[in-house]
Amino acid sequence: MNKMVKGAIATGVGVILLVGGGGTLATWNQAQQANMGSVVSGDLNLAATNGKWTNAAGTVIPDITAYHVVPGDVLTYTQDVTVTLTGDLMQAKLAVTGAGQDGTGATAFGGAATLSPTTLTKGTQILPDTILTPADSGVVKASTTFTFNTSTTGRTATNATYNLGGIGYALVQQAPASANNS
């Protein structure tokens, strides 16, 4: 039995040695880098500077809340809106959001005032359906005009208010044609 045990142990050691030297069984092999580089995302951003109110005389109004309009007043709000679009397939639309809110009851202008739709211009007018590309990045001029109609009679719309705080801008990416909607 001792001989059999010794034989078995010797066989086991031999097998273990074979297993431990597994690397010695390697054959030819080769590795290559994929060189895929890095994927870099683009950018989409919208930033509005402080706007500026001017009256029909061209006078800058430093604080619109301290200015009171009268019939015949035409106030214009101009603002630079910086659009940033980066990306080879980047496309976006820039639009005006929200609307002015006339006062109610005794504080309403009613038909005595007109608020023109805000226009966006960068060389040419940017319409809601205009597709912007990275080449259109830069400053877009926004302009809104409030007119207190000269046809106002009596004491109509004295002390009225018109809130334009709800007006804003939205820059929304448009899906590239190859988008997978994921």
């Binding site: 109110w53 619109i64 009268v70 002390n159 009225a160 990416q173």
Partner: protein, 197 residues
């Protein structure tokens, strides 16, 4: 009966699809950015015009808080009874006290020839009223101010924001007034109108 498990399975799949669709409505959103215009609130000016009795400095807004037109009683000078052949004077100062942000000039005018009432005594027929625009209250008591004015004149003047103007009135009692009218009284109403210029 054997189709019941299939129907259940189909129902579960449908429910799962619906839940999936409802749970990810925004999954198709792309990049977007928003900015506020911060344009603030536009406020209309008031349209305040004050009337001040030149003698007593009693002041009232031309339009009362309830929207009706105000009336102001003017004090004449010299005070007391008017003697036939002589005149008395009064004046009202019109103030443009608007809070308009820009230029806001108004034009104040005597709206029509004075209305004279005497409750039937006939005294009004012997009164002549002239109105003129003046530069200051001190001019109202000067007879020479009315020399070229006619009773039918309806003077007007422009008043810039924050400024005032004065209308002077001369009331003359005809020297030919009958003696029996002595002691009687008459009222004179002079409408003023103001409009944005």
């Amino acid at each position: 009966m054997r189709s019941t498990p299939m129907l259940k399975a189909a129902g579960l799949v449908l429910a799962a699809v619906l839940l999936g669709l409802m749970a990810v409505p925004g999954s198709y959103a792309l990049w977007n950015s928003a900015a506020s215009a911060s344009a603030g609130t536009i406020q209309a000016a008031d349209f305040r015009v004050t009337l001040t009795d030149t003698q007593t400095s009693n002041t009232t807004d031309m339009t009362l808080p309830n929207g009706t037109a105000a009336a102001i009683a003017l004090t004449t000078t010299p005070a007391g009874a008017l003697v036939p052949g002589q005149a008395t004077y009064a004046g009202v100062q019109v103030g443009n006290v608007t809070n308009a942000g820009g230029a806001f000039t108004i034009r104040a005018a005597v709206g029509s020839t004075p209305v004279k009432t005497d409750t039937g005594s006939g005294l009004a027929g012997y009164l002549t009223v002239k109105a003129v625009a003046a530069g200051s209250l001190a001019q109202c008591a000067s007879a020479s101010l009315y020399t070229l004015a006619l009773p039918t004149d309806l003077p007007s003047m422009a008043i810039a924001k924050g400024s005032t103007g004065v209308f002077c009135f001369q009331v003359s009692l005809n020297a030919a007034m009958p003696a029996n009218l002595a002691g009687s009284t008459a009222g004179i109403s002079i409408p003023l109108t103001v409009a944005q210029q």
